[in-house]
């Protein structure tokens, strides 16, 4: 049966490693989501490129190539598992002679960040970007185009209008989906253990194997992931409220009173 004392003991004895795992998982998922969103915006705009029939043929061909590349990118990266992408990335790098193991930091930092951590960061970012492109694109399509006309009628450039008017609304409207992606990333970064990225799951696997406490170890892991995702969901709600121009209170009592987590 589950031995709670054993589980507690396991947690306390390996606290350092577990915290290192939590930090690296958080960095992987948050960096992956934020930078992925940034890349996704570019890909979404690339997919939405429209050529006027009057523009020169160089522009037409160029735009179509960019559009095609963006489409291929999102189809391929969304259509293959991240685990497979990570493995291909790992062995692809090896074939090209790139050795992620060679990246070393001073001892304290290298506990959290080894070379493969950065490889994992790249994989998760580019994988998320494909999903983000889709999310941002649907957000862009959802914004009422009348506002663009309003901006144009005041003399704004179309790029200014889309940057200051359309994009903020598109991202605001798709924020629940983007938050969802963050939560998925927190959990799915665990598949990066196949390329030895030292995130939370990888740490716990090592700990529980070493101490033969598999059930206890993975239960602790489940609780930690649950707490991380709950906190992420709460923070995202706060951000949503902030973007809506509502006043937010950081006093937890007030927040519970208003039913933030309800």
């Amino acid at each position: 049966m589950i031995d709670l004392a054993k589980a507690g003991d396991l947690f306390i004895r390996n606290q350092g490693l577990i915290w290192a795992g939590i930090i690296s998982t958080l960095i992987l998922s948050i960096f992956g989501t934020v930078v992925g969103l940034f890349l996704g915006v570019f890909i979404a705009y690339g997919k939405n490129l429209k050529v006027k029939p009057t523009s020169s043929w160089i522009k037409k061909v160029g735009f179509n190539i960019i559009k095609g590349l963006c489409n291929i990118y999102s189809v391929v990266l969304r259509g293959t598992p991240m685990m497979v992408q990570a493995l291909i990335f790992k062995y692809g790098c090896a074939a090209l002679g790139l050795n992620w193991d060679a990246i070393r930091f001073p001892s304290l930092i290298s506990d959290v960040f080894n070379g493969w951590f950065f490889a994992g960061l790249i994989v998760i970012t580019f994988n998320t970007a494909a999903y983000m492109a889709e999310i941002v694109q649907s957000g862009l399509n959802g914004v009422d185009m009348g506002q663009v006309e309003g901006a144009r009628s005041l003399g704004m450039k179309s790029s200014t209008a889309s940057f200051f008017v359309v994009l903020p609304q598109a991202i605001r409207n798709s924020l629940p989906t983007i938050g969802n992606e963050l939560i998925v990333n927190i959990k799915d970064s665990s598949v990066l253990n196949v390329i030895a990225t030292t995130e939370l799951y990888y740490r716990m696997k090592v700990i529980s194997t070493a101490s033969y406490a598999f059930l206890e170890g993975y239960l602790i892991l489940a609780v930690i992931y649950l707490l991380l995702t709950l906190i992420a969901a709460g923070v995202l709600k706060l951000i949503e409220k902030k973007l809506d121009g509502q006043k937010i209170s950081l006093n937890p009592f007030n927040r519970f009173k208003r039913g933030l987590f309800a």
Binding site: S153, L154, P168
Partner: protein, 337 residues
Amino acid sequence: MSEVILEVKNLAKFFDANRVLKDINLTVNKGDVIAIIGPSGSGKSTFLRCLNLLEEPTRGLLSFKGNNYFNIEKCKDDFVDYDAYRKTKAKYKDVLVDAEDNLAIYQNKIIEGYVTKQNKRRVKECKKIYKKVLNEKPNKADFFDKDAYEAFIKEHPITAISEKQRNQMRSQMTMVFQSFNLFNNMDVLRNCTIAQTKVLKRSYEESKERAILELTKVNMQDRMNYRPRALSGGQKQRVAIARALCMDPEIILFDEPTSALDPEMVNEVLEVMKKLASEGRTMIVVTHEMNFAKNVANKVIFMDDGYIVESGDSKSFFAHPKEERTKAFLKKANINL
């Protein structure tokens, strides 16, 4: 003599076969308040949108303070030989009907029971002819005089103004929309300042001062930190007017500003517009508010089917309409003549 601000000559806008604006000529003097009335689908809104090039006109001359910002004397459509096209189309119709009839005769014979080799062969032949006729449908492109068009373009090259000049011109000719089109992600104050800082390159403090001034004018100064969705329709429209005023426009275009509002709100918006008119601003207002057209505007234009049917001084326009079409419209609109 007052100064001419905007000149429109032979303006036309075609959406393929749908000819929305056919031939519009208009001169706007400084300080004019022009009301454009007319039934739905008569091209009023399209005309307004063509003025600041939100919609690209097909042909015509638009000139703002003496600068031609749009000038296409003749479009491709003018080089299509429409007489020949129509004649060929009529002839083609006859041929088509003949082919259809022939086919039907032999098909009916077979249906009636005369299934002979000869009849079957004839049906086959008629089908062949029918298909051939279908392929020979006259095409408008065949009647397009390409050489003449190219020669014309060589003589009068299309000189489109740059995007920058376009934006410059638009900021001088701001527009107020039926559906407000405020920026939902910004509060009222930011709505009024963003175009000033981005287009006119004013400093934030300067543009804020200006925005507060204009918002006070439309009586919205106490709602500066609200988002548009927290405002009523009339309030939104007043903010939209303030936003347009912030750009120091020479002309303000109103595209049915009161159509989406209930009667109470209509009045609060119309009050603001009256105030602007009394300040001597140049305004072009597409409206269904006949009282506004009668009492505030100094010139009324009645549009129907892509033409300006009648235009004139507002008092005499409503008192003595000349054209039959205008009379019928005003009667339906319940205006006491």
